[in-house]
């Protein structure tokens, strides 16, 4: 079954700039992956319970309790730019 993929659009959505050569390389690689998925999809799965997670576990909750936070200096100091104890980023729009 033919699988089509608009690699340029995928790259745009992920905000990754790709050269024409890279577009071709990744396009081919992604197609391989999708074709593999196609093959898996073609397997007879009638009577098999759908699975949404590989582990036979659910929830994994934690109680609503407060734990320690980081010292702001410890992570702000690693940011490219900060101002008034906040991360400073370029204008958004």
């Amino acid at each position: 079954m033919p699988v089509e993929i608009d690699i340029a659009r995928v790259a745009h959505l992920a905000r990754i700039a790709l050269t024409p050569e890279e577009l071709e390389t990744y396009s081919a690689q992604l197609l391989d992956i999708l074709e593999h998925a196609e093959r898996v999809q073609a397997l007879p799965t009638e009577g098999v319970e759908p699975t949404s997670h590989p582990l036979a576990m659910v929830n994994g909750f934690r109680p609503d309790e407060i734990g320690p936070c980081l010292d702001p200096e410890s992570f702000l100091s690693q940011a490219p730019d900060t101002e008034d104890s906040r991360f400073r980023v370029p204008r958004i729009l």
């Binding site: 582990l55 609503d64 407060i66 980023v89 204008r91």
Partner: protein
């Protein structure tokens, strides 16, 4: 002229008031110091893994149950991918297919006209950090030179309640929002403070000619942070869209921004391409399982919802509007409920609380708790009116004196000589005296002309210094004027 119909759907975000965040143990109650409630999970440091807060799941199930939703026993967390720095992961953990709650309803009443608003879904997600846009435009994103980020709020549990496009007017939208706020407050799962942003609304609005079944192009209005603004923003948007269409234009699907000062919505951005959040199941999180047993356990913690409490009060003979005010205030409804009892007129007490008491508190800028008014005071005062010992106007005077701290109702009525005489002996004497002085009036009544009756009641009241119970005066007078001997 075309008659237009508005079609409105609301998305409401409610921050849950858990102690810790949704997927990490940072506190949700942080001060003003930026970035002090952050850890590797909510900062998205490499390798950090989210662990869901059980209390938050219980909170969303509570909301879902209160909105008559089906609770999915099995639901999943998804990643909503987008590029915006308010969440450092570059995605928000949310839900897509299989939200925790689906297919609910909320009954809304506008001026006695009931409407059922369908609830499409209620899903669990996480709040974003706070962005401050720095520039010349006074915080406006378009004029910003750069943006500062504080991630204290990032990861606070957030519940999104999405309605069906069932709402037809700005008033209905407001009534829905107000009722949802009441429900959330009464469940105790959020402080639902609009001005603080812990409850926020987005309004999807479109218009279409009456009779048309297809939906018109809609806009989404954001930044609405009060019930009044919600109503105003939707009204504005409905009028604007009708104007555009009547002028031969077309509506652009876009996000619009409500400006409180100008009272108008303005275009924020046109969506260049249909949004593609590339939702996929978050591999870091296990499937959620809310078993029937857990649902029952959560259901058992839900006390009577506002609508139910209003009905109970209305059944006591109180009008709807008064019942709404009572139920909206835990203090007032608490006093009301505790004051009820044998011989206590529920309607009168309800009107005192929502009328005289509320006005008193506002006028004197005091809290109810500091006045010392108790349910016992209200019960005693209610019984005094019911038995005819106190006229309704005298009762209001006593009520104000009780609020002023002058003492108990009995004592105040006594001190101020406000008690009515309902002792028929004294009243009979007064009636006899008045009738003796007004022989012609008596004659007219006996010949079938009832006009002087009111005059005679007034005379008796005057004779008694205004302290007679008028209903007793009437009945004695009736008896004596029809008595031909």
């Amino acid at each position: 002229m075309t008659a237009w119909e508005a079609v409105i759907g609301l998305e409401t975000h409610v921050e849950l008031s858990t102690k810790s965040k949704m997927f990490c143990s940072c506190p949700t109650d942080f001060g003003d110091e930026p970035n002090t409630a952050c850890c590797p999970v909510c900062l998205a440091l490499p390798g950090a893994l989210p662990v869901p807060n059980e209390e938050a799941i219980a909170g969303i199930v509570k909301i879902g149950l209160a909105l008559e939703c089906d609770i999915n026993e099995s639901s999943l967390f998804y990643r909503k991918n987008y590029f915006y720095p308010d969440l450092p992961k570059n995605y928000q953990i949310s839900q897509y297919t299989f939200p925790v709650c689906e297919h609910g309803t909320l009954d809304v009443d506008v001026n006695g006209e009931p409407t059922v608003v369908g609830i499409t879904r209620v899903h669990m997600e996480e709040d974003t950090g706070k962005s401050s846009h720095i520039g010349d435009g006074g915080g406006r994103i378009h004029d910003a030179r750069h943006t500062l980020l504080d991630f204290n709020r990032a990861g606070v549990p957030l519940v999104e309640v999405v309605t069906e496009p069932d709402i037809r007017s700005a008033e209905q939208a407001r009534a829905y929002a107000a009722e949802l706020q009441r429900i959330v407050l009464s469940l105790g799962v959020s402080d639902a403070r609009l001005e603080a942003g812990s409850m926020r609304f987005d309004a999807n609005v479109s218009v279409r000619p009456v009779g048309e079944t297809k939906l018109g192009t809609r806009t989404e209005t954001k930044n609405v942070n009060s019930l009044r603004s919600l109503q105003r923003a939707i009204s504005f948007e409905i009028d604007r869209q009708i104007q555009v269409l009547e002028d031969g234009g077309s509506i652009v699907q876009e996000t619009r921004h409500w400006n409180e000062d100008t009272g108008a919505t303005t275009s924020m951005r046109v969506k260049e391409e249909s949004e593609d959040y590339r939702y996929f199941q978050d591999p870091d999180l296990l499937p959620l399982e809310v078993t029937a047993a857990w649902q029952d356990e959560i259901r058992s913690t839900i006390t009577a919802l506002p609508a139910e409490r209003r009905v109970a009060i209305i059944e006591q003979g109180v009008d709807r509007e008064t019942a709404v005010i009572l139920v909206d205030s835990d203090e007032l409804s608490g006093l009301f409920a505790a004051a009820l009892g044998d011989g206590v007129p529920a309607r009168t007490v309800a009107l005192w609380l929502t009328g005289d008491v509320v006005a008193y508190l506002r006028r004197n800028e005091v809290e109810l708790s500091s006045t010392g008014l108790t349910s016992e005071h209200l019960a005693v005062l209610g019984r005094m009116v019911d038995s005819g010992d106190l006229s309704s106007s005298a009762a209001k005077e006593v009520l104000i004196a009780v609020l002023d701290g002058d003492g108990g109702p009995g004592e105040i009525a006594d001190d101020r000589d406000l008690l009515q005489v309902s002792d028929t002996g004294a009243i009979e004497e007064a009636v006899d005296a008045v009738l003796a002085d007004n022989a012609d009036a008596l004659e007219r009544i006996r010949s079938g002309d009832m006009k002087p009756f009111g005059f005679l009641v007034g005379q008796v009241m005057r004779h008694m210094g205004g302290k007679a119970d008028p209903s007793v005066v009437r009945s004695v007078l009736e008896e004596k004027t029809t008595d031909s001997r």
